[in-house]
């Protein structure tokens, strides 16, 4: 008797969970003649099932430009973003499938790249937030690997994109401050191993595809030190980034 009760309770709990899960997924109504389901999230994967007009499709999750969907009878497959965007909500409103972010007015950028800093190989990673279409704040962390020393540089600055509407190539200028730590590789040790820096930069950015873009930057640094001569450094770098 107890076992039966336990089973009933378990079943109930399971049903509750599954109903809850079903309620959390987005459900869309196919409004085109049909919606194709592929066996994988890629253009080459074959169509394995077709959902007809006015049938309900459950959207489970997305991967890049593809959405994992479930047909009314339980078959699962991958639908292309452009095709799923043509479906409707039950209320008749268009499906909330977001389009690609507009490159000219995107908010976030995250990227990494290669460069040369003070004639040393440079590994760089950055994040960037846009206040307006043309004014950004960017934070960069980078490691310069040389034969005499290694340098860790963190910088923060603002960047102005001259003509954000230019998609493939748009020049940028920037200004900011940085901090560098030098760890010696070969003696003698550097006179100062922690410095603050300031920089001006000239660069460019451009769109590649979907959410993918490139960045180029040339920077001139001034190192603030307690020595008699001001040290000046040069840096260039090229990076690939994702924008949101």
């Amino acid at each position: 008797m107890l076992r039966l009760l336990a089973r009933v309770l378990l079943l109930q709990a399971f049903l509750a969970v599954s109903v809850h899960a079903a309620a959390e997924n987005l459900q869309l109504v196919v409004s085109e003649p049909y919606l194709e389901m592929h066996s994988g999230p890629g253009r080459g994967y074959p169509v394995i099932y077709v959902i007809g007009r006015d049938e309900v499709v459950t959207v489970l999750y997305s991967r890049t430009d593809w959405y994992k969907v479930r047909a009314p009878r339980g078959q699962e497959g991958w639908a292309r973003r452009e095709e799923l965007a043509l479906t409707k909500l039950a209320s008749g409103e268009p499906a909330p499938i977001p389009p690609y972010p507009d490159f000219a007015s995107h908010r976030w950028e995250v990227g990494a790249g290669y460069g040369v800093y003070n004639r040393q190989n440079l590994v760089t990673a950055y994040a960037d937030f846009s206040f307006t279409d043309s004014l950004d704040i960017e934070a960069v962390i980078q490691q310069a690997l040389g034969t005499l020393d290694n340098r860790y540089v963190a910088s923060i600055g603002i960047r102005h994109t001259m003509i954000p509407e230019w998609k493939w190539f748009s020049p940028t200028v920037g200004i900011g401050t940085a901090y560098q730590h030098i760890s010696e590789k070969v003696p003698p040790a550097p006179l100062e191993d922690n410095n603050q820096l300031a920089y001006v930069s000239v660069g460019a950015r451009g769109f590649i595809t979907r959410r993918f873009m490139w960045r180029f930057d040339w920077r001139a640094y001034v190192v603030f030190n307690n020595l008699n001569v001001n040290e000046e450094l040069e840096e260039w770098k090229f990076g690939l980034a994702v924008f949101f």
Binding site: A23, E24, N25, L26, S39, G40, P41, G42, R43, G44, Y45, V59, L60, Y61, S62, R63, T64, D65, W66, Y67, K68, L89, S91, P96, I97, A112, Y114, Q120, N121, V123, A125, Q143, L145, N150, K185, T209, R210, R211, F212, L240, V242
Partner: protein
């Protein structure tokens, strides 16, 4: 009898005057006093007479979760040039930008064995024991060259992709950080849509002068890994 029709006429005229007095027809001359608007004042603090009994439907459209990130671990063998082949352990994180392109980051560690020079001449130490740790991080960009399906028997098909990666990073070996390039080729097999198995071969190239001459050393690793999409 002559009076009667007159009195009827008078009565009718009087009645008409009384009846029509309410009409504005009689007030044509004195329009200045506009009718006061009728205001039905509700007593404050009391509920209105008609209360809407409509329960509003809370229309919220569920968000579709994007599972573009991949996090995993791998282990395998790393052939450190001049220092033998040794076990390697690492973690990877990836972000899939499109069905073709992805970004990947690695962090891994291995421990170098003895060089052939040290084997032949036991008295010589090329790298001290603290410097035998081989640690690297890499930032890569990858391209899915050959996406497809792998068939296991009649009824099972697994999505897969052969990919190439290229990247830069830092190799710390013999207590020195070196700038390193890496080139790799790998196969990703999706056991389920969220769990992937990886087979990778990757070469880390950097400049080394441990043996007196500066040369490019190749450090090839072959690894097996598992990763989760989220």
């Amino acid at each position: 009898m002559e009076i009667r029709p007159r009195s009827v006429l008078l009565t009718a005229a009087l009645l008409a005057a009384v009846l029509l007095s309410g009409c504005s027809w009689f007030r044509r001359g004195g329009q200045s006093a506009a009718p006061a608007p009728v205001v039905a004042e509700e007593p404050q603090g009391e509920p209105s007479i008609v209360e809407p009994q409509v329960t509003r439907r809370d229309v919220h459209t569920p968000k579709v979760k994007a599972k573009d990130f991949e996090l995993g671990a791998y282990f395998g063998a790393l052939a450190i040039q001049d220092f033998g082949t040794n076990p390697l352990y690492g973690v990877r994180a990836a972000y899939h930008v499109s069905e073709d392109i992805f970004f990947e980051a690695f962090l891994a560690r291995s421990e170098a064995g003895k060089s052939s020079l040290e084997d032949v001449f036991p008295g010589i130490t090329v790298v001290g024991s603290s410097g035998r740790q081989f640690t690297y991080y890499d930032l890569d960009v990858g391209y899915n060259v050959l996406p497809g399906e792998i068939f296991l028997g009649r009824g099972r098909a697994f999505n897969s992709a052969l990919y190439v990666t290229v990247g830069i990073g830092d190799v710390k070996f013999a207590n020195q950080d070196q700038f390193a390039l890496n080139f790799g080729v790998g196969e990703r097999l999706l056991i389920t849509d969220w769990l992937a198995a990886h087979i990778d071969v990757r070469d880390h190239v950097f400049e080394s002068d441990l043996f007196g001459v500066t040369k490019n050393v190749h450090n090839v690793e072959a690894t097996l890994g598992l990763s989760v999409f989220f």
